[in-house]
């Protein structure tokens, strides 16, 4: 989240908050407030929807707590229905996340394979000061480890800074920071990308056209991401900025450093989300306590919230459950799209007074979305892009890494359904991806090459 600061070389920010998968998490919120305003009800409802979509846990928790607070018995019946619906939608969620991740990876791999710029070594970021052009292997390894340490500590510092800002309610600062960083992504990086693509295909474009194109692209992107916009357009923009960010990483990270960084960041992600004092976890819990959606522009969401918010039962019984849901919802930060959430929230709030109260069952039928942090997109794409760029086995390795990452994502979503709390999305996928990359490059490639040269089939 701590994305871009004012300096132009703050590219690694996105790594931070974005890297977690939230599940219907459940630190049960003991404060059942009866007099919930309609807006909160709406929010919570939407939250509940999102939550229910991703795991079964909250349902059970909600069901349990509701009966605990004396709510009608239909909750238990609801629970079973919830479970089944969750399972049914579970597969849908997996697909809903597969498509954007796949798209992002395709964009990155296509660019890497065709545009020379992103595979040329033109210097390094200041965050990885040690060069890898050293004669000895040991020296190179040492340099890459040092680079990693520097990078990870920068990320940790940024994350902690962001959490502190959030804790002390410096919202304007955070919003300004995010807006600045997405401005930079949308305008500067797009300009560079477009320039390189045009160069590769030898297409001429004059500056006025370029200006108009980039201006429109960037302005619409800012509006879509930070304010309101059609869901698909927003998703497309988020995928594009993730791909751009991943391309920057692929270009500017030296080889060994990139792999070590990928490994280190998945360990960091694991710790930051699961340890009690981890910054990401604290961020999530703070947001839960305040019943607020987290930041805009850092999370990809796959479903509309206002459709969810349309049917809102206003019964007092819903109050506590919604509160719980809400709290649990915020836990799911990294997978949620705050910007989307925000835009939806405002729509929900405005629409609350006019919507009739519907039954709980009807609510269950509505679309539930899943959310994934953009940092996850970025690092998945970095892994696949690096595999495409540097592997000599070319496409086999890329394909193997791609399948490995998707399976890791599947497993993570499964764990999400089981544990029902914020989960890091990086570790399993990146581990699988790394294992498959190294083993495919070194073991499978000679085998397949020999088979292909003799035209044997297995």
């Amino acid at each position: 989240m701590i994305t871009f600061m004012n300096n132009s070389d703050s590219e690694e920010e996105p790594c931070n908050e974005r890297t977690s998968l939230m599940s219907a998490g459940s630190p049960p919120v003991p404060s059942y407030q009866d007099g919930l305003q309609a807006s909160e009800a709406g929010e919570a409802q939407a939250h509940r929807k999102r939550r229910a979509g991703s795991s079964r846990g909250p349902n059970n928790i909600t069901g349990g707590e509701m009966s605990g607070s004396g709510v009608p018995v239909r909750e238990s019946a609801l629970e079973n229905e919830e479970e089944e619906l969750t399972l049914k939608y579970g597969a849908k969620h997996v697909i809903m996340l597969f498509v954007p991740v796949t798209l992002c990876m395709i964009v990155v791999v296509a660019t890497i394979k065709s545009v020379r710029f992103y595979t040329e070594k033109n210097g390094q970021l200041i965050y990885t000061p040690f060069s890898e052009d050293t004669p000895s292997v040991g020296q190179r390894l040492l340099n890459s480890v040092l680079n990693t340490i520097i990078m990870i500590s920068v990320i940790i510092v940024m994350t902690v800074f962001l959490v502190l800002l959030y804790k002390y309610r410096c919202y304007k600062f955070i919003h300004g920071w995010l807006i600045l960083s997405s401005l930079m992504l949308l305008f500067l990086f797009t300009y560079i990308y477009l320039g390189e693509v045009l160069k590769t295909y030898n297409v001429a474009m004059d500056y006025p056209t370029l200006f108009i194109v980039i201006w429109n692209f960037g302005a619409v992107g800012m509006i879509c991401i930070h304010w309101k916009g059609p869901l698909q357009l927003q998703q497309a923009y988020l995928i594009m900025i993730s791909a751009l960010m991943a391309l920057v990483f692929i270009k500017y990270l030296p080889e060994w450093s990139a792999w070590v960084i990928l490994g280190a960041i998945s360990i960091y992600d694991l710790m930051a989300v699961l340890c009690p004092k981890g910054p990401l976890r604290m961020l999530v819990e703070t947001a839960q306590e305040r019943n607020e959606p987290i930041f805009p522009a850092l999370i990809y969401s796959s479903a509309m919230m206002w459709t969810v918010g349309m049917a809102k039962p206003d019964t007092a019984a819903r109050g506590p459950s919604q509160q719980t849901w809400d709290a649990a919802e915020d836990g799911r930060e990294h997978l949620r799209s705050p910007s989307h959430a925000e835009s939806q929230m405002s729509e929900t709030r405005s629409s609350v007074p006019t919507r009739p109260v519907t039954s709980l069952e009807e609510l269950e039928e509505e679309e539930r979305g899943v959310k994934l942090g953009l940092g996850d997109f970025i690092f998945y794409s970095v892994l696949v892009g690096k595999a495409a760029a540097t592997a000599s086995g070319d496409w086999n390795t890329t394909l193997a890494c791609f399948v490995a990452i998707l399976i890791g994502l599947c497993l993570t979503l499964l764990l999400l359904a089981v544990y029902k709390k914020a989960l890091p999305a990086l570790p399993i996928s990146i581990t699988f991806g790394l294992i498959f990359y190294f083993s495919t490059d070194n073991l499978v490639r000679p085998f397949m090459d020999t088979l292909a040269s003799h035209q044997l089939y297995i």
Binding site: N80, E84, T440, N442, M448, H454, L456, Y457
Partner: protein, 209 residues
């Protein structure tokens, strides 16, 4: 697809170790090792297909337990089909994708005396393998479901035969023809196992016209 990939990984690991441990100059030994590698890989693939079947079985039981009316939303036959398609796609992708990438670039096929039909035959062979994997998936799962070990054995033997026939390359008639015949047989068998029959087929074709 993932399971196929893992099986490929393990089999190439074995082959790699064997190659590294042996004399790189000895042509016959290398060829022998390659054959061994291929056969081992086939057996490993089938073993992983079996493991995948076990996993899916557990998943279906879980789904059935959770569903309202006692039947799972997806049947084992559908899963068998999907598993077969996954295996086939992965195998086909790994076989063809480097070839396709090279085909995009400049070059002449068979300039060093190899067959000029390399790309064509590779394409056909890959296609037949993908289809075969799909049918084998159905047959295999059906055999596992109904405890008919001879069906499973038939699948394994068919796979070994097809892979073995590819050793005849570049004598393509020795590999493509048997493979296509086996594919037709497997297709008919899988169709019958999935509940199809000559009447169904005729009705389907007649309705279309």
């Amino acid at each position: 697809a993932f399971f196929w990939l893992v099986s490929l990984l393990l089999s190439s690991l074995i082959w790699f170790i064997a190659v590294k441990a042996s004399d790189p100059q000895d042509e016959r030994l290398q060829k022998g090792l390659l054959i061994f590698g291929v056969m081992f890989s086939v057996l490993l693939q089938e073993a992983f297909r079996f493991l995948y079947y076990k996993l899916l079985r557990k998943a279906i039981e879980g789904l059935v337990a959770l569903s309202e009316d006692g039947c799972s939303p997806i049947s084992i036959q559908q899963m068998a089909y999907v598993a077969g398609v996954g295996f086939g796609l992965m195998s086909g992708a790994f076989s063809m994708i480097n070839l396709l990438a090279d085909a995009l670039g400049p070059g002449t096929v068979g300039i060093h005396g190899d067959s000029q039909l390399y790309f064509l035959t590779s394409a056909f062979m890959t296609m037949v393998l993908i289809f075969l994997h799909t049918f084998w998936g159905i047959l295999f799962f059906h055999g596992c479901e109904h405890r008919r070990w001879w069906e499973i054995a038939a699948v394994v033997i068919m796979h070994l035969t097809v892979s073995g026939s590819s050793f005849c390359n570049p004598l393509y008639v020795g590999s493509l023809v048997p493979s296509y015949l086996l594919m037709a047989a497997a297709a008919a068998w899988a169709y019958l196992l999935s509940g199809g029959s000559a009447q169904n087929l005729r009705r389907f074709l007649l309705c279309k016209c």
